[in-house]
């Protein structure tokens, strides 16, 4: 079994900006270890000379010309923000 401990889960969760409550930690630890065991089955196949496949049809995502197209769009997202004012998103003070 792939063994992770509580500190591993907490470290990964911190990277993901998530916190796991102490009361549910055992359950997460168990589930994630089981999932990693499932995933470990991948080791049974030799892929040394195989190229990774990131897009099923192997086409590159299209890019568009880098030009400003619609200046009014910036208002729309701010209407639905939890806290916004004067074209700014409001968050707790970062620099004291």
């Amino acid at each position: 079994m792939c063994t992770l401990d509580k500190s591993d889960i907490n470290k990964i969760a911190r990277l993901a900006q998530i916190s796991i409550e102490e009361t549910t930690m055992a359950s997460y630890l168990d589930d994630i270890s089981n999932i990693l065991d499932l995933i470990k089955a991948m080791d049974s196949v030799d892929t040394e000379i195989i190229e990774p496949l990131t897009h099923p049809l192997e086409i590159k995502a299209r890019l568009r010309t880098d030009r400003v197209s619609d200046t009014e769009q910036s208002k729309l997202p701010q209407n639905i923000a939890p806290a916004a004012d004067h074209d700014l998103y409001i968050v707790p003070q970062i620099i004291k």
């Binding site: 990277l15 900006q17 997460y28 990693l36 499932l38 995933i39 991948m42 196949v45 195989i50 049809l57």
Partner: protein, 483 residues
Amino acid sequence: MYKTIKQLSDGLKNKEFSSEELTSDYLNRCESHNANLNCFIHLLPEQALKQAKAADHKIRQRTAGPLTGIPLVHKDILCTKGVKTTCGSKMLDNFIAPYDATVVARLGDAGMVTLGKTNMDEFAMGSSNETSFYGPAKNPWDMERVTGGSSGGSAAAVSAGLAPVATGTDTGGSIRQPSCLCGITGLKPTYGRVSRYGMIAYASSLEQCGPMTRTAEDSAIILNAMAGFDAHDPTSAQKKTDDYTLNLNDSIQGLTIGLPKQYFNSELNAGIAEVIQNAINDLKKLGATVKEVELPNIDMAVPAYYVIASAECSSNLSRYDGVHFGYRCTAPQNLNDLYMRSRSEGFGKEVKRRIIIGTYVLSSGYYDAYYLKAQKLRRLIRDDFSRALATVDVILGPTVSQPAFRLNELVDSPIKMYMSDIYTVPANLAGLPAISIPAGFIDKLPIGMQITGNYFAESKLLNIAHQFQQVTDWHNTLPPKFL
């Protein structure tokens, strides 16, 4: 309430009823049954009736198309302008979409009437609709059983006759599996065939939006309106679309169907094996032949899928930060606290589990062993399908490993839940189109079969499905409590 799109469209054209009357009837039905089925997150009666009136005007002006005035429901993963789009999550419980997804806009432009937004597993992560913040949807065939997921609400709505059409999305089986468990037809198109613009992202290289209907013919009609290049979606395929209704009535004489050796082994549920064998016999009577094919790396599909999907999910869901939209925790002490608590409180357990897995497999020291490895296995799986499809027209197999299970049966067993995707995830990894169609019953619960085609072969899949539905009645068999 179980009329096909064509029957409804003819009825509107011949003035047997108006779109407003039709929409009111469907809305009444939705309101009556939703308490039991919980297949809607929200109904949109005012908007629907307004759209219906506009449709009636077009019908009177004789400018209506084949979909004008026909009601549908959208999975609540598709942005609908001015309307809540929750993705089944507390994180987006307050999110009013500022624009329409391309699929929503196209079906709206075709004159369709949106009855409401359907329930789903949270952020499309789940196979039972049980991870939804709004509670599980119930299977119309047995309301103590799951609908399947993640497009569970859409499947239940069509199955129970609450809407003739639903949209769903499919990242690892989320159209096909609930369609199978609820006894309807569900199509996952080729990757890139239908625009993902405005479809809230879970795993961007795997997912597609598709139709969920009672019949293959209805799916073809809807796909005509949905499919096609979209400049807003950088992964949208520029390949020309077909008229997906054109070849429905072609004979399947001479069709070769591949049966993967790895699917039809002693591990296949005996009841499902019998249903599928009967379906194969029906297809043979229509002139198809079968041969065994090999998919040697197919056992790697579930592990590879859960690495890739989790990795992509951890990236896609990083946008939910309590700053720009969606849930924000109360009284954050600092920016870090804002991020941490908004995300921890806003996401449910399964979503957090997949974000953690995804973060781990992408992290320094593990990227090669997990993520890169999974992408290499993806190529092997894709190549297996390419080799097989070079020798047969389509591949046929089960959609699921068991009929609809009981509510709460697998909620504490994530591995068992993940393994229930065993027959569906390969098509997502390879980007191939696949359809699930009703094929029989086990203990009074519907079971479907899955047909996978080559890239952009939706017409062929719909043709085979339609021909099967001309000689069988499984797709017309209705849940007894919703007649």
